[in-house]
């Protein structure tokens, strides 16, 4: 019994990780209609920032805000040039631009942070484990689950329940109308991009404690994030969250029962969901990507 409960907690912690990877991308991809393949690079960058911060001896809890702020700043700079020039271009152009940039970033990070696998030095409060029904469970994973849920809630409220969220979605539908209403769509997009890259960086800093950071993590995370966002349904935060939850559970229990086929099982589940809900879990969308 406790064994299953612990596997459920494992699944939840992996879901939280998927959620952290997917949230930022869902904002850019579905709300802003921009295909950003550098998303994984920001996740990795955030991870490196977290690792460096935790090793530096500065207050540990500031590592996560620092990763958010620094990645958001980088995202904002990239928005000024060259992302902004590509928002109105065809998707293929965006793919070429952002894929090329992700390769450049991978090289820069390998040069700046070395090619080694790095693990964060976790503070005493997050290390160690708690006993749940007689079995040990890492404290850090509980922290990850709580952080993931809190961020998801915050993000959903921001996009689905605030005027700002409505405005950014309106910008995608018809930027000109939004402009005539007196809103600056360029500024909205700049904030959106910064928020998205900041979230990716935060996810990376939080995920480093579970995954470690190393060159190549950027691509792995990008793939997971795309999966979560696309299967979850574009234009729907709830769909993204639901999908992260489902894929987290499917891959965890696949690893537990049939470890050799864990990847196949996860992809089969994704395929199944797309066949049943071609528009993703989040319901209908007005627009195609």
């Amino acid at each position: 019994m406790s064994y299953f409960l612990l596997q459920v907690l494992n699944a939840l912690s992996f879901s939280a990780l998927l959620m952290l990877a997917g949230l930022g991308l869902s904002l850019v991809l579905s709300m802003m209609n921009f295909i950003n393949l550098t998303h994984g690079s920001f996740f990795l960058l955030g991870g490196y920032i977290g690792v460096q911060w935790l090793a530096s001896g500065a207050p540990w809890w500031l590592a996560f805000p620092a990763a958010f702020v620094l990645c958001a700043l980088t995202g904002w700079l990239l928005n000024q040039f060259p992302f902004r020039q590509f928002y109105q271009r065809p998707h293929l152009m965006q793919v070429l631009l952002t894929y090329g940039l992700s390769v450049i970033f991978a090289d820069l990070m390998r040069w700046g942070f070395s090619a080694d696998t790095l693990s964060p030095v976790l503070p005493q409060a997050l290390r160690g484990g708690v006993w749940i029904l007689g079995l040990p469970f890492p404290t850090y994973r509980l922290f990850l689950i709580v952080a993931g849920l809190a961020l998801a809630l915050l993000f959903w409220l921001l996009l689905d329940r605030t005027l700002w969220g409505a405005a950014i979605r309106a910008c995608v539908q018809d930027a000109q109308i939004v402009e005539t209403l007196g809103l600056d769509s360029r500024r909205l997009f700049a904030i959106g991009m910064a928020l998205s890259t900041g979230l990716a960086g935060l996810g990376g800093a939080l995920g480093a404690g579970m995954l470690s950071v190393y060159p190549g993590l950027d691509e792995e995370i990008l793939l997971l994030a795309l999966l979560v966002v696309v299967v979850g349904g574009l234009n729907s935060v709830r769909g993204t969250l639901l999908c992260a939850l489902i894929l987290g559970f499917v891959s965890t229990f696949a690893r537990m029962w049939v470890p050799s086929f864990a990847n196949a099982a996860t992809l089969a589940a994704m395929l199944g969901m797309l066949l049943i809900w071609p528009r993703g879990l989040g319901g209908p969308v007005a627009r195609q990507v």
Partner: protein, 400 residues
């Protein structure tokens, strides 16, 4: 008259034209003697094996600096190419190195599939090649080539000794295996299981996990539920780092004995990253920072890069040592490839791995295999300490 004088002039011109390549050619021929020998290093500087590739290059460069870029009395020039960890890219680079750069010797290669992919090209070009790191058994058996030397181990050499050690010193039953599901993992597990069962050991379940598994927690929970006596496991790089760390997170570290081929506890790219979580781990490896023959290299590498060397850096260094031994024996004269080969086969070479002797059947090295246990050293660092040495382990080689 005019026609004959003209033809005389033409004859002189023709003669001069015919002689000119000879005139210019003589000094060029002379120069070819002291032109630098071109040694190329093919390694992975990007992609999943980037860290290993960087270390391999650092190891070889350290060796070249120590001998002042001179081998067998000739200057040596090093060319480095990145294979991105992909066989097709490696093939392209090797073709370019042979055709355009006209290299004399090729070394390097991290992964087995790349070593196998370039094997036919270097064989056909009769290019002296040194496989520094890739362990695939096939290269010592059906895919062996008279031009390809392998200063490093085969999977069998580690799996076999792992089986011997586990049976004699750990448990005779009640263990299971866990490995990344690709060629190297399959080879190590099969060779381990074969030897272990041959000794009389009984082996439980075999767990396979895809290469690049992000979360080992579900598998670790299964290990906890089954509570085996030991786990023989092959994971490398970031997979190994995550596995050790998550074992510690779930407080299983130290409760289940972990043993495997050395990549599981590589001093440079795994132990450094996981720290205390590596303590108590046992591996069989042809490399150890604690090995007697490695001490000078370990000190020099630490001075150069500020850390202990692992397999890839030692491989790079040993590749340089082996090439130097061969070139010194033939005084830098590579045109006679048979003499070069014979020189390599003739006598054992002292390397940073330990004593190394090439097997004349397949040019595969015969090496000492160390049983390393990760213990704290004098400074409190986790350190691969040699607890036993299986001397002169030789791959079964080509089956007749």
């Amino acid at each position: 008259m005019t026609s004959s004088s003209l033809s005389a002039g033409r004859r002189q011109l023709l003669l001069a034209a015919a002689a000119s390549p000879l005139l210019f050619g003589v000094p060029r021929l002379l120069r070819a003697q002291d032109a630098p020998l071109k040694i190329a290093l093919l390694t992975s500087l990007s992609g999943p094996f980037a860290a290993l590739g960087e270390s391999m290059r650092a190891g070889l460069e350290l060796m070249l600096q120590q001998c002042n870029y001179e081998m067998g009395g000739r200057k040596v020039q090093l060319l480095v190419e990145d294979d991105h960890g992909k066989p097709d890219e490696a093939i392209r680079k090797v073709r370019k190195l042979i055709a355009r750069d006209q290299i004399d010797i090729l070394g390097g290669v991290i992964s087995a599939n790349i070593a196998l992919a370039i094997r036919d090209i270097v064989h056909d070009a009769q290019l002296p090649t040194f496989i520094s790191n890739a362990a695939a058994n096939a290269l010592a058996r059906e895919a062996a080539s008279p031009y390809v030397f392998r200063p490093t181990k085969t999977s069998w050499m580690l799996g076999h000794t792992g089986g011997l050690w586990t049976y004699e010193h750990i448990e005779k039953s009640g263990g299971l295996t866990l490995a990344s599901d690709y060629t190297a993992g399959r080879e190590y597990i099969e060779d381990f299981a074969h030897t272990y069962q041959e000794q009389g050991g009984a082996l439980g379940e075999r767990i396979w996990t895809p290469l690049g598994t992000p979360d080992f927690a579900p598998i670790i929970m299964n290990l906890a539920a089954r509570n085996p006596k030991f786990v023989y496991t092959f994971l490398a790089g970031s997979d190994a780092v995550r596995f050790h760390q998550q074992m510690q997170d779930y407080q299983l570290h130290g409760k289940i004995q972990i043993i495997g081929p050395g990549a599981l506890y590589d001093q440079e790219d795994v132990v450094t990253a996981v720290g205390q979580a590596a303590l108590g781990g046992v591996s069989t490896f042809h490399q150890s920072p604690g090995a007697a023959g490695a001490q000078d290299f370990v000190a020099a590498y630490q001075a150069a890069r500020g850390r202990l060397p692992g397999e890839a850096s030692t491989s790079g260094y040993v590749t340089g040592q082996v090439i130097k031994a061969g070139l010194d024996a033939v005084k830098g004269e590579l045109s006679n490839k048979l003499a070069f080969k014979q020189a390599l086969l003739d006598q054992p070479i002292d390397t940073a791995f330990g004593p190394l002797q090439f097997d004349p059947r397949n040019n595969q090295s015969i090496l000492d295999i160390y049983v390393n246990e990760v213990r704290q050293d004098a400074q409190g660092r986790p350190f691969n300490t040699v607890v036993h040495t299986y001397s002169r382990i030789q791959d079964p080689g080509p089956r007749s």
